[in-house]
């Protein structure tokens, strides 16, 4: 029993002692000279101090056994981290590139939106304006900061509440803008919700020109009907006078027929003029281009006007230089232009006055001047005399018959020839109309004595 106890005691004490001795031996061994784990640890400590230097090859340590396996695992890990880092860097480069492109696109888009001929307002669901392009600012006559941040209801005198609803995208209305007097057509479109809720794009189109065109058309029709009425009244009244036998003496009868003939001619001229000016304005007039001997043309025009000038006791003079160039143009239409100008000069020049037609050239252009000592054109009327049906607003002009189409036709015809027509005038002193026509490469210089 004692012996067994002793054996038991021995066993109980020897195991920890042996374990201690073995452990101590290992400890001594590890502490005394560098072991693989310690070397790995050292490497890692070095690494921790050097950010970025993770590509440390532990296989260089030539570790064995488990340590070797560990170092290989480490190396794989390091390789994967390095790969991930490279990918990250590549992604960052791409992101920066995308950001640059994005910034460029944003600038490009804003520039594009600002250059659109249509106004654009972006409106949030709270009816607040979040964006306004340059055209919108111009159309509404307000600066950007007077639009963005405001409620759309403050900008248009309409609640526009229905913009909040899907039906709001059906909006298509025309508004009159108080600040600019412009007429604006408003169309809405719902855009995709982006973060801050759905937005409505409002497109603004300036339709003032349509209104102007309508007004111009109405004015045109008004003038046409007025101009048609007088000759029609005369033809009707004189024809009825003849058919009812109201007049008997030969002279009165002849006068009736002459009035009818004269008024029929007036109607034809009016119809021709209206067609002419419409075609020229629409650009659909066809010029029959040929060599036009301007000296001959001018002489013909002056000769045709001579009777009217004599009747009015107005001196009509044509002064031509020795050589007048031949130009390329439509002879009939140019004749109309000069007949209108010389005719007007005679018409608006009181008895005793004179009208002078001159011309000069500088090799490239031919200038024809029609100068009169007539009633002149007031400065406020000067910019408008070339408008069709416009006649200077004064009593003297009102007494002289005219449709107000002659100068419109003259200007359009000269333009169609690539030329210009200019006016210098002083009320009560007279007017000078200058027609400048290009001579052109194909121009042939003709002599005045060409007949």
């Amino acid at each position: 029993m004692v012996l067994a106890d002793l054996g038991q005691l021995f066993l109980l004490t020897s195991v920890p002692v042996a374990a201690f001795l073995i452990g101590y031996g290992v400890f001594r061994k590890v502490a005394r000279k560098p072991q693989p784990l310690r070397r790995i640890a050292q490497r890692l400590e070095t690494l921790a101090g050097q950010a970025g230097q993770i590509e440390i090859d532990l296989t260089q340590l030539q570790l064995q056994d488990a340590h070797g396996v560990l170092s290989q695992g480490w190396n794989r890990l390091v390789a994967e981290v390095a790969e991930a880092r490279r990918e990250l860097e590549a992604l960052q480069v791409r992101r920066q590139a995308l950001e640059t492109v994005g910034r460029y696109h944003a600038a490009w888009m804003t520039d594009l939106l600002n250059k659109m001929p249509y106004g654009l307002l972006m409106v949030g669901d709270d009816l607040g304006v979040t964006f306004a392009n340059t055209s919108a600012e111009r159309l509404l006559g307000r600066r950007g900061d007077e639009l963005v941040g405001r409620k759309i209801t403050e900008i248009f005198d309409d609640s526009l509440e229905y913009l909040r609803t899907p039906a709001g995208s059906m909006l298509d209305r025309t508004f009159s803008v108080q600040t600019t007097g412009a007429t604006v057509r408003l169309k809405a479109a719902r855009t995709l919700a982006q973060g801050g809720g759905a937005q409505t794009a409002l497109f603004l189109q300036d339709t003032s020109h349509l209104k102007e065109a309508r007004q111009a058309r109405d004015r045109f029709l008004y003038h046409i009907t007025h101009e048609l009425r007088t000759p029609l009244t005369n033809i009707r009244a004189y024809a009825e006078t003849l058919s009812e036998g109201v007049l008997e003496d030969r002279d009165s009868l002849r006068e009736c027929y002459n009035v009818i003939i004269g008024e029929t001619e007036r109607l034809s001229r009016l119809v021709e003029d209206v067609l002419s000016v419409s075609q020229l304005e629409a650009g659909s007039a066809r010029l029959v281009v040929d060599d036009v001997q301007m000296a001959r043309l001018l002489r013909q025009v002056v000769e045709d006007m001579q009777a009217s000038a004599d009747e009015k006791n107005v001196e009509l003079i044509l002064s031509l230089p020795p050589k007048v160039p031949t130009i390329r143009g439509d002879k009939d239409r140019l004749t109309v232009v000069l007949t209108n100008l010389v005719g007007n000069a005679v018409k608006y020049t009181p008895a005793g006055g004179h009208v002078e037609v001159t011309c000069e050239e500088d090799g490239a252009r031919l200038q024809i001047r029609v100068r009169d000592t007539g009633i002149g054109i007031a400065p406020e009327d000067q910019p408008r005399v070339f408008e069709k049906f416009y006649r200077a607003q004064n009593e003297e002009v009102a007494r002289i018959p005219g449709t107000g189409l002659g100068l419109a036709i003259a200007q359009e015809t000269v333009r169609a020839h690539g030329g210009t027509i200019e006016l210098v005038s002083e009320l009560g002193k007279g007017s000078t109309f200058t027609v400048t026509l290009p001579i052109g490469r194909s121009a042939v210089v003709g002599v005045t004595e060409d007949e």
Partner: protein, 133 residues
């Protein structure tokens, strides 16, 4: 026989209307603008005025309103105007003793209109005369 003033800047129109009215035995004075017409009215005290609307110096509207203000002429006023202008002109001459006659017109119809107005005016004068007696 009545005295009639025509205010019309289109000479041919004034002349032909004058021919028809003189044929009917009336005394006719022609003016080519509103102011001259007003002068003729003051001088000759016509029974009737025939006026165009678009005239230089003084237009038909001004002439007619000026005349109507003084109760001249007694027989009334005929305004020659196109159908398309009538709405605006009627508005401006509202409440005045004015008859509108469309332009272009038939001189025989215009003459009939003149006779109708003169007859009406004679009736009024006649009635007034009787009551005075």
């Amino acid at each position: 026989m009545a005295v009639i003033v025509i205010a019309e800047d289109e000479v041919h129109i004034a002349r032909v209307v004058g021919v028809w009215l003189r044929k009917g035995g009336h005394v006719v004075y022609e003016a080519n603008d509103g102011r001259s017409a007003l002068e003729l009215i003051r001088r000759h005290h016509p029974e009737l005025l025939i006026a165009d609307v678009n005239m230089p110096v003084m237009d038909g509207i001004e002439l007619v309103t000026t005349c109507a203000a003084t109760g001249q002429p007694r027989g009334g006023i005929i305004v020659l105007t196109s159908r398309c202008d009538q709405t605006e002109i009627r508005r401006r001459l509202k409440g005045l003793n004015v008859v509108f006659h469309p332009k272009p017109f038939s001189p025989s119809r215009l003459t009939q209109e003149v006779e109708r107005l003169l007859a009406r005016s004679q009736d009024v004068v006649g009635t007034t005369g009787t009551s005075r007696r």
